[in-house]
Every structure is written in structure tokens, then in C-alpha cells.
Symmetry: C2
């Protein structure tokens, strides 16, 4: 058993038989375990369409790249596990040195507990008495379990304390709470330093809570990477640093305060503004989640290690792809494929046609240009191209690039990992189970 998660529980996922419930897999595999299937080194061509795959080497590269980048920049990483909801990928992130797994809510925390994840940051307020009681029970049952939650108002702190003090005694382990600092026109988070300090004081005064640091999310403050947007992000991060500095006397003596920000879009700005706090005793924690899969859309554009890099280090590799089949070619310039909103992400840009799979054995994939996905229905996609000789025919299989890992992973309960998305017929090297 690893120190940071239950390795046996993660490994046991490979002993589960697959079934008709797994839409990524062919009927011939139903009833076999993941381990048995992988022993045959199956090929992509044995799988049905539509399909989502991950690239094994790509993810390994991305894991190592961000781990190294964090080390070099003096920050720690608590990758946001909501991106993948895949305990096997969380395990890989923890094995690569992650300090904790970040999650969004109590359900996701339940999944993490089922796989023994020892340290979790819930990057939200937990208000529900039901969920606060369950977290209290988890803290009581497992002395090694650590959890940090956020609060952005005095009322939130009062509700947390009321639910906890009605449930646990004064000698119970306290719940660690970070003050959440927000920004104008952002999402959650106190909108000014004064409010944030009042929240911190309320946490410090609450008998069953413990003030554990400051947190925020710069990804809600900007959506582009022009200099004005980056300046806006830095100003916000500086306010977060200011709150932390002003809390120095409020932190309990036995706490290493956490200062946390950083999605996958602006983590270089976080390291720049918050990184220096590490030398004053703070633990500076990034929470990037999308980096493990990266993408061919939003994150390719905006990541500091994407197509227009803004920091030193290797570029991340887009490591998730869709595979679709042309099922209709009803009019010039239009083909319909067999994947839709149930299969592929569509909220941060449409899938990008990239490759035509070999039509015959022995051929290579053909790069596609001049095609665009114009629309997805529930179970269909619309592929547009110039009229004239069509670049695809009915029966063709295409690889598409995708934008936004969070809304790609959540459409698949089991995701094949392949050895090389550019290969003529990639080998399936793993099957990753997700829990949404």
C-alpha cells in the first residue's frame, strides 16, 4: 500500500470483468477482466466507434513534465481529480510526486476515499450538514486521512461550525479550512481583503475548524492569454498573497499554511506571484488537472506549456482523441459521423478532424485538412468540407482532436489507453475506469 493511496484498490480495478455497460468495448470482450484483455495486446481496430482514447506515452510525458516544472519552480501540485475522476490516473499523479488530489465536492471525495486517497483538497465550500457529518466521520475513522475545504463568507463558516459542533465533540480532529479569495466578476471567493480577513477570523474562532491557508482560482478571472488578461490574473493573485501575509498571526502554530491557486491555464503566473511565499514558510500548491490529458483546443491554445508557450519546459502533448465513423454522406460537402454530445466534448469548441484511418491493412493514416465539425447532435456529428471530390466516404474512420478534458472524460466509464495515436493500428495498453 502506497503512503498516499490504496494501491491494492487501484490495482483491483484491473480484475473487474467488463460488460455490455462499457460502451468503449466490443461484445467479444464482455465477461473478461481488464487484465485478461490487456494480456492479448489488442488493437484499436478491434474496438467499436465512437470511442475516446488516451495516449499512454503522452500522459506519461505530461505527468513528468508538470511534476518537473513544479519542482523547478518551488511549488507543489494537488492536481484537480475532477478532470478525470479516474483513480488509476490519480495514482499516477501521486506517484509522480503530487502532494494531494483536489476534488470539487463530497461525492468526488467519496470516490477518493474508496481508493484510500490520503490527502484531498475540496476546492469548494461544503455547506450540506449531511456531507459535513460524513467528512467528520471519515476524519475520525482514519487518522491518516487529511482534508482541506474552502470558505468564502462568515455565514459559510457559521454553517460549517454549526453542523460539525452538533456532530463531533470538542476533542475531535478539526477540519482544515482555507479562506477563499475571489475577484470581481469571478466565481466564488471573497471579493476584497477585508472580507477575506473576516472569514479567516471566523474560522480561527470556530472550535471545530482550523485555519489552514488561503486559496483561489484565477481561471475564473480571465479566459484569454493576452497581456491584459495576464495582468488581471497577476493582480488577483497578488490580492491572494496579501491575504495570506495578513493572516500570519492567525495561523495556528502547528499548521504549515497552504496558499493554493492554479488551474491548467495560468499556472506560470501562479508560480511567479505566489511562488515566493514558499520561502516564508507557506506551502504553495497548484491544482492543475487538465494537463494530464491536455487537448487540441482550449488548453492547447492557453496552456503555459501549450502551442504558444509562456514558460520554460517541455510542451504538453495532446493525449486524448475521439475516433468516429462516417455513416452518411447525404449531400455535397456534408458527411455525418456516429459520435455526438454523448460521446465528445462540445462546450469549448468542436472536435477537430485530424486523421483518416487506413482503409486497407498495410496503409498509413492520412492527415486530414479542410474539414470541420460544424455541429453535434445527441448521437451524430456533422462534418463539413468543400464541395467536389469528398475527402471521406461512408465507412471511413477518423481521428478527431478534442477540446476540454473535463467534458470528455465524463462521457466514458472506461477509456482505452493506446500506445501511439499516430500509429496505423495502435495497441491498447490500458483501460482506465472513471467514476462520474
Amino acid at each position: 500500500m502506497s503512503a498516499s493511496y490504496d494501491a491494492a484498490a487501484v490495482a483491483a480495478l484491473a480484475d473487474q470483468p467488463v460488460s455490455w455497460q462499457d460502451k468503449a468495448l466490443p461484445p467479444a470482450w464482455w465477461g473478461r477482466t481488464v487484465r485478461e484483455i490487456l494480456a492479448d495486446r489488442p488493437r484499436l481496430s478491434q474496438l467499436p466507434t465512437p470511442l475516446l482514447t488516451l495516449s499512454g506515452p503522452g500522459m506519461e510525458h505530461n505527468l513528468a513534465t508538470l511534476a518537473r516544472w513544479c519542482t523547478e519552480h518551488g511549488v507543489e501540485l494537488a492536481p484537480h481529480g475532477k478532470t478525470t475522476m479516474a483513480p488509476a490516473l490519480w495514482a499516477a499523479q501521486l506517484d509522480a510526486g503530487a502532494w494531494a488530489i483536489t476534488l470539487a465536492n463530497a461525492f468526488q471525495l467519496g470516490v477518493a476515499r474508496a481508493f484510500g486517497v490520503r490527502r484531498v483538497m475540496v476546492a469548494n465550500a461544503v455547506i450540506s450538514p449531511l456531507q459535513l457529518r460524513w467528512i467528520a466521520d471519515q476524519l475520525a475513522a482514519d487518522p491518516s486521512f487529511e482534508v482541506l475545504v474552502w470558505a468564502d463568507s462568515v455565514r459559510t463558516v457559521e454553517q460549517m461550525e454549526a453542523a460539525r459542533s452538533a456532530h463531533v465533540g470538542a476533542d475531535a480532529r478539526p477540519l482544515d479550512v482555507l479562506v477563499e479569495m475571489g475577484g470581481a466578476h469571478g466565481r466564488t471567493g471573497a471579493r476584497d481583503v477585508e472580507t477575506a480577513l473576516a472569514v479567516a477570523q471566523a474560522i480561527a474562532a470556530a472550535p471545530t475548524l482550523r485555519l489552514a491557508g488561503v486559496a483561489g482560482y484565477e481561471g475564473a478571472i480571465a479566459h484569454g492569454a493576452d497581456e491584459a488578461g495576464l495582468e488581471h490574473v497577476r493582480a488577483y493573485l497578488q490580492s491572494l498573497a496579501d491575504v495570506h501575509t495578513q493572516l500570519a498571526d492567525l495561523y495556528p502554530a502547528d499548521v504549515t499554511p497552504v496558499v493554493s491557486a492554479g488551474g491548467s491555464a495560468y499556472f506560470e503566473q501562479v508560480a511567479k506571484v505566489l511562488g515566493p511565499l514558499a520561502s516564508t514558510g507557506a506551502r504553495v500548491v497548484l491544482r492543475s488537472g487538465a494537463y494530464i490529458a491536455h487537448d487540441d483546443g482550449y488548453y492547447r491554445e492557453i496552456s503555459p506549456l501549450g502551442s504558444a508557450p509562456r514558460t520554460d519546459g517541455d510542451r504538453l502533448i495532446p493525449s486524448m482523441h475521439g475516433w468516429v465513423r462516417i455513416t452518411s454522406q447525404p449531400e455535397p460537402g456534408l458527411a455525418i459521423f456516429d459520435a455526438g454530445k454523448r460521446d465528445l466534448p462540445f462546450d469549448e469548441g468542436m472536435p477537430e478532424p485530424q486523421l483518416l484511418r487506413p482503409r486497407r491493412e498495410g496503409e498509413s493514416p492520412t492527415p486530414l485538412t479542410g474539414l470541420a465539425v460544424s455541429k453535434l447532435n445527441d448521437q451524430h456529428g456533422f462534418l463539413r468540407f468543400p464541395e467536389g471530390e469528398p475527402p471521406v466516404v461512408i465507412g471511413d474512420e477518423l481521428r478527431v482532436g478534442l477540446s476540454h478534458p473535463c467534458t470528455a472524460f465524463d462521457k466514458w466509464g472506461l477509456i482505452p489507453v493506446i500506445d501511439d495515436p499516430d500509429a496505423a493500428d495502435p495497441v491498447v495498453v490500458d483501460l482506465v475506469r472513471t467514476f462520474f
Copy 2:
């Protein structure tokens, strides 16, 4: 065992224990079976947020209403099962007299076969040799199993025939194929009568296929219900009827030809234009799927039995709701709640704030006006309201109306069914398992 599905397999779903994998349920219920849980008549207040629920009486009303409407209008119903992917709801639809279940692809057909659904229309071409072989094996293994698929081009027919004739003998049960008629600027489907006739001739000439009718989807032709849109829909449906009429001599003598169209938006037009074909020996089959849940958005507006009805019969009742909790109130006019793109549909309009749940026992829900959901992130929602005294506070629970059942159901593996969404604390009367 029912004649139309495996009632024992559906009933067995209630014997499965729930777990940390079921995000709709509280930890206190993990390890208990659905049957055990329901025996306690639990209340909505025992469930976590965010949550999706269905209304039991609402769905019963909708099931009975459309079944009656179809009988009165001389058409049959093969409800599109992709909407819910819930075998227990398919069973209710079949019990209400549905002729078949419609599905979108081979994966969904696999789910239907796991629950013994006897007759399935796959409202798409099936091109993949892998999937065609599996369907052939299913037909061979179960003489009572009936499946109909679509084709909209000669190439599609050729690919189907090639895959099948390489796999089954000449004496195998043929695969029933409907010619798919489309319309300009629509989705799949032959764009003119001439092409459709050529497809039909190809099917009729293919040794392992059987021409079984004509199909199409008018929902891809229009998106509004103004008179111009409805006229466009009728013209399209008439072309579908024309194809059927011209196929009279091609249908095998032992086939009752199926003529199928009809989503949940224009089924009254389908009955009007295609219904008369029933008297000439055709089986006219609607495929509406969304009607069972109906909604507070797209379908409320456009359904012939919605808020602006275009046909006789009871109105459908919106029977799915989201339940969310306010977790932050960071600036005037803005509150953040705990549900996002992972929890609630957002592709056909944002959730609609409807009710504030009682803050104290003994109170009633309060109707909400003047609030709007402006945006969903992955795990957060943005609630906007006029500045001034805020209508909600942190900790409040809200009911929201939803738009588009297909993208609501697919976010939940287990969906509580309640007795009355307007009650102060509804009783949970069922837990419906979905398979996406």
C-alpha cells in the same frame, strides 16, 4: 417474463446494492439495495445536492397521455430509448403499449439485449462490420429478437451486405432495413426520392437484407414551431410518404412495411401526414423519446402537447428537475450553486430557478421569480438576480427546471423518482438506473 422484454432482469435492478459510485445517494445508504432503501420511504431531504429527480406521477401521466394519443391517431410508438437509457423506463413504455424501443447505435442495442427487449429499431445506419456481425449473432441466437436498421445510400447497403454475407449463410434470418429519407439541410437520409428508391432496390436485391419500410427524422429539418417551420416539416414528411408509396411492389409479401418518423417536437404533423398510410397496410411508427420526462425548456415550448399545444389531448407534465444548493454569495446580484455541466443539461438553454425549498421544517416551498442561471462551469452554476435584498442565502436549496432530457439523463447513473416535486419534502418512490 413479459412478451416484450425480460421483466426479471428489469426487476433485478432493485436487488443491486448502491455504493459510493451513485452520486445521487447519501453515504448512509451505501451497501443497501434499492428495494431496501425504498421500503423506508425516504425523503428528498435525505439526499445530497446536486441532484436530478424524476416525478413518478408526472411520468405516469406522460406515458398514458402519449399512449392514448397514439391510439386515437392510429399510429404506433417505438419510443427513443436513447433519451433515458433506463431499462425500467423502457419497460414502462412497453407496458403502456409501445410497439418497440428505438435506439441510436449498437452499444445501446447491447443494453437493450441485456434486458431482453424483443423488438428494437436502430434509427441509424450500422456500418461497422464488428457491430453487424454481433447483430447477426443476436438474430441467430434468439428467434424472438427483431431488429430494424436504416440505410440512406447504396454504399451503406453494400457495406452491410458485404459484412453480413461474409458472416452468415444464405439461410440466416435477414436483417430488416428501412430506407432513410432525409431533407435539404437536414441530417442523414437520402435527399431525393430517386436516391431513396435506388437504396430500396439495393436492399431488396441484397441476399441477407430485407426491405422493411421507410424512415426519417423531421426534427432535423426544423427547429421552431411557426407555420413556415411546420409547413417545411409536412413537405418533408410527404416526401417520405411518396417514397413508401413507390415501394409498394418492392416490399416482400411477408413484410408489414414500417413507415417511421416523429421525435417529441412534431409528432402531430407526423400523424397528420403519415397516419393515413396505416389504412393502406403500413405500420406508422412514432419514435418520440423526450415526452416521458418532458421538460421546462425546449420541449415545453415546442411539443404539440406542451405550453402552446397544437393538438388535442392532455398537456405533458415537466417531470425532471434539478436540486442545487447555494454555496457562495460573493457580490451583489450573484450567487453560486453546487451544480454544473457535469450535473445539469446546458445545451438547449440554462436551468430555470423555480422553487426555494423550505428553510425550516413545517414551511412550504417558495416560488422564485426574477432569478436566472447565467452560466454553468464544470461543477458550479451562476445565479443572477437584481441587486438589493438577495432572494437566496448560502445554504438554501433550490429546485430548477431543465431543458433537454437527453443531456440530463446522461449525467446520472441512478436517478431518484419522487412522488411530488411541489411537496415540502417529497418521498423518494423509486431509483432508476441508467446505462450510458
